[in-house]
């Protein structure tokens, strides 16, 4: 299992590294064509031609309050927290400087209702769903939810360094979730306990009837912060080959910005910026180490 999850990653790393090697080592002609093509893209997506809400500035919406670890100190403009960092990175790719980014407050529930938007993009842990796509546009996903293991802070498993350390743990999850399937991917894991909903799984955790519960990382941040006193995230891991929850930047339906924002997100993914930001803000500073 360990090898299996890390495989796509190392593969991705390999591909990225070799691409980098190619880019640096190959003839200047290659490089020129590279810059030419990105130049083309930026011509279509240049600051001057981008039909933003406010000409020359990039208006980004999020909810108030903005929660950790997606934002920091309820101040989206400080560039701290995963989504704030991603938003600034996207703006940067589009050619907007940090001072050309304007933040606005939009409640989560109103963001994906149909109609005119007073923002260029909304970044607010919004899951991409087909139903929502009827009403709004989504960028390519900037985050695909990892699975997290929640344990009590005094648990022997709180300091797990790898998935193998969790083999002896009695884990639990909600029925019908990716999290439940994810437990099956932990090598040597005991048969999981299965609960009707997260509330019951949380109660079982408090009672010591399970050593840990598995939930997607965004839910885990909420559960550990607000629902289960004295609980921590022992770590996170990616489930392979399954449609997990993905977050996208939300835009007005049919927005002319969508393809440019898409390109920006894709290029951030390709050059590893997204992975770096994820590591910084959702693993290190959020105290949720990645388990392999």
């Amino acid at each position: 299992m360990t090898a299996m999850t890390s495989l796509p990653r190392s593969l991705g790393g390999l591909v990225a590294a070799s691409a980098l090697l190619l880019a640096t080592a190959c003839a200047p002609a290659d490089e020129e064509s590279d810059t030419a093509s990105s130049g083309d893209a930026s011509a279509a997506c240049s600051v001057d031609s981008l039909p933003t809400v406010e000409k020359g500035t990039f208006t980004i919406a999020t909810d108030d309050p903005a929660y950790e670890p997606w934002f920091s100190d309820n101040d989206p403009a400080n560039g701290k927290g995963f989504e704030s960092a991603v938003a600034y990175a996207v703006a940067d790719r589009l050619g907007f400087g940090k001072d050309e980014v304007v933040w606005t407050k939009v409640p989560f529930n109103t963001a994906y209702q149909p109609g005119d938007k007073a923002f260029d993009v909304d970044v607010n842990q919004i899951s991409i769903t087909d139903e929502r796509k009827q009403a709004v546009d989504f960028s390519a996903p900037y985050y695909e939810a990892a699975q997290a293991i929640i344990v009590l802070e005094d648990s022997e498993f709180a300091d797990a360094k790898s998935l193998a350390d969790l083999a002896d743990a009695q884990l639990g999850a909600q029925i019908g979730t990716t999290s439940l399937k994810a437990i099956g991917q932990i090598e040597g894991a005991k048969q999981p306990r299965v609960y009707d909903d997260t509330t019951k799984a949380a109660e079982a955790l408090r009672n010591g009837q399970v050593d840990g519960i598995v939930a997607d990382l965004p839910s885990a941040f909420y559960l550990t912060a607000a629902e289960i006193d004295g609980s921590v995230i022992a770590g996170q891991f990616q489930v392979e080959g399954d449609a997990t929850e993905a977050f996208g930047l939300l835009l007005e339906k049919g927005s002319k910005l969508t393809s440019c924002v898409d390109d920006a997100v894709e290029s951030l993914r390709e050059d590893g910026t997204l992975a770096d930001l994820e590591q910084t803000w959702l693993a290190e500073s959020a105290n949720a180490p990645v388990l392999k």
């Binding site: 306990r193 609960y195 009707d196 109660e203 408090r206 009837q209």
Partner: protein
Amino acid sequence: MTSAPHVPSARQAERDAFRRRRTRRRVLAGVLSTVVVLGGLTAAVVTSPGWDRVRATYFDAGHARESFPLVRDAFWLNIRMFLLVEVLVLVVAVLVAVVRVVPAPFMTPFKILATIYTDLFRSVPTILVVLLVGFGFPALGLAGMPTSLFWLGAIALTLSYGAYVAEVVRAGILSVHPTQWASGRALGMSYGATLRHVVLPQALRRVTPPLVNDFVSLQKDTALLSTIGLVEGLRAASVYQAETFNFTSLCVAALFFVVTTVFVTRITDWFMIRQMRREAGA
């Protein structure tokens, strides 16, 4: 019988022929009506517009094969559970029933407790008892409280079904004629000995059918223990169903419950008949 070959009279032959004809007609009518009624019902189901979807969703052979071993392994928990709980329930029920019928005045506080117990646990839905015991007991953090989900589940089901069965047993005791008590006492038996040797055996035999009813119901309610995280037969089936979006696994689980119920019912029938023969023949 006699050594001479028996030659039936013409009238007897006619009578026999008539009886054979009648039997044939009756068998024919029985078969025909069965075919018409059951066949009609089957045809109505099978030709219904949604049948193909129903068959693919609920009765798919591939999903049945795949989920069968999962459900079978998990169902072992249900079997262990109801075998254990049935014994516990009988003990609790007889105790509570006896406490409620004995006339001794010093028993009054226990009679009050027993009455509250049966009233309370017969009225609270079993699933709530399961949740309260399964999650609530361990939350108390008392020393010596069992932490194993299996035992917590067993306690919950025993509490709930003990109350039902206590009332059944009490009804059985009350149904034994007062002369039986009087005879026991007249023979010099103490009250307790009369209860033990004269009344209870008759009472329990009399309430066997409702008792089996409650036990069959209990066997099905072992599935409620899935709410506290135990992966029993039905839960294993639902996990499969949630993954595949196919309900066949649930029908497989149903099959396991049907087989256990039929098995238990036949065993009891046989036992009852043996008892009745013994009583009638003795």
